[in-house]
């Protein structure tokens, strides 16, 4: 397998579709009704892991000074709670649990990037016996995941905009913001653009950062994989290990930062939806 094939193979999801959606030239699924099974199953498994760990921890809570894992979880809870208290202007019991879910789930999905790029696909190929089996283990490197999460947040933004401001208040936002009552057609288009940009910026930022990070891991993996021939391996293999370790340590910061940004912007956008706007 050449360098290009290696990268293409790793960036290909395990897709399932009906027979008429398969491209005869490439043999790959195309079209709207294509399901990325690896993305769906891994994200559901990580969500289930959160529920399982939370349920087990909930039964063994220690009063007083907690230790170990409970202490770490309480730290995360305090951190998210503080962010919500600081940045969310109204009162809504949904926001803190939503922010916590987003932070932990996105972090766990991003964390899959730290597992060696060839490990899980190789295991899947050994289990299935198919040497061309596709497995993309990081759900957030799939645009479907990030845009689905962003659109879910967007649906909540619209819901709370209408609930808090009322239908007329929401309509007024489109009619009179940002240029005042004499530019209503411009205001409608501008506010529409502004609203559409929210899920775009949420989803594309997370996808872009994680996809680029995954690509760098693949390129580092290629150093040892394709260049380590004969005596050259003595130089290239340690270099790959060193670069891989460096990027991995840096990536711990990236995955945490991206999960934090997604969570904070969700709180801020929902906070905006809860804020009454004065007429210009």
């Amino acid at each position: 397998m050449g360098t290009v094939e290696y990268i293409q193979h790793h960036l290909q999801n395990n897709a399932v579709c009906s027979a008429d959606n398969i491209n005869p030239a490439t043999g790959l699924c195309e079209g709207f009704w294509t399901f990325h099974m690896d993305t769906i199953l891994i994200s559901i498994a990580l969500g289930a892991l959160i529920i399982l760990v939370a349920a087990r921890l909930g039964k063994r809570l220690e009063a007083g000074a907690p230790s170990g894992f409970q202490n770490a979880v309480e730290g995360v809870l305090d951190f998210v709670g503080q962010q919500v208290r600081d940045t969310f202007p109204g009162k809504n019991p949904l926001i803190a649990p939503l922010a916590l879910t987003i932070f932990v789930w996105v972090w766990l999905m991003n964390f899959m990037d730290l597992i060696p790029v060839d490990l899980l696909p190789l295991l899947a190929q050994m289990v299935t016996g198919d040497p061309h089996f596709h497995l993309k283990v990081v759900p957030t490197t799939d645009l479907n995941t990030t845009m689905a999460m962003a659109l879910s947040v967007f649906a909540l933004i619209i819901f709370y905009n209408i609930k808090v401001k009322g239908l007329w208040g929401f309509t007024k936002m489109f009619l009179f913001h940002p240029f005042g009552k004499f530019f209503i057609p411009f205001n409608i288009v501008m506010t529409l653009i502004e609203e559409v940009s929210k899920p775009l910026s949420l989803g594309l930022r997370l996808f872009g950062n994680m996809f680029a990070g995954e690509l760098v891991f693949l390129l580092i993996a290629l150093i040892g994989g394709t260049l380590a021939v004969g005596i050259g391996a003595l130089f290239w293999a340690p270099l790959q290990a060193l670069l891989g370790l460096g990027w991995l340590i840096f990536h711990i910061l990236v995955i945490t930062l991206q999960a934090f940004i997604f969570m904070v912007l969700t709180i801020v956008y929902l906070g905006m939806a809860h804020t009454e706007m004065d007429d210009h």
């Binding site: 600081d86 775009l200 910026s201 904070v264 912007l265 906070g271 905006m272 804020t275």
Partner: protein, 79 residues
């Protein structure tokens, strides 16, 4: 009172500061959103390519304006 002033008051100025972390992507996503809305309006009213171009420019202007507004909300010691 400006929209963000109200938010800023209610959150002790923390909300605009947090929006700063997304100022760059906010600008680019406004331009992309402008083209998307323009494309949609064009297909709705059959006005290709004017909707795309006008909304693209509006996205650019709106994005620049939004980033400027957020930057102006920064605390003075950070400027």
């Amino acid at each position: 009172m400006h929209y963000w002033d109200a938010m800023s008051d209610k959150t002790d100025g923390k909300m605009p500061n947090l929006l700063l972390i997304s100022a760059g992507s906010m600008f680019t996503s406004m331009v992309v959103a402008g083209f998307l809305v323009g494309y949609w309006l064009d297909s709705l009213f059959d006005t290709q390519p004017f909707g795309l171009l006008i909304c693209g420019v509006m996205g650019f202007i709106g994005g620049a304006r939004k980033v400027y507004d957020i930057l102006m909300k920064m605390p003075h010691e950070c400027k």
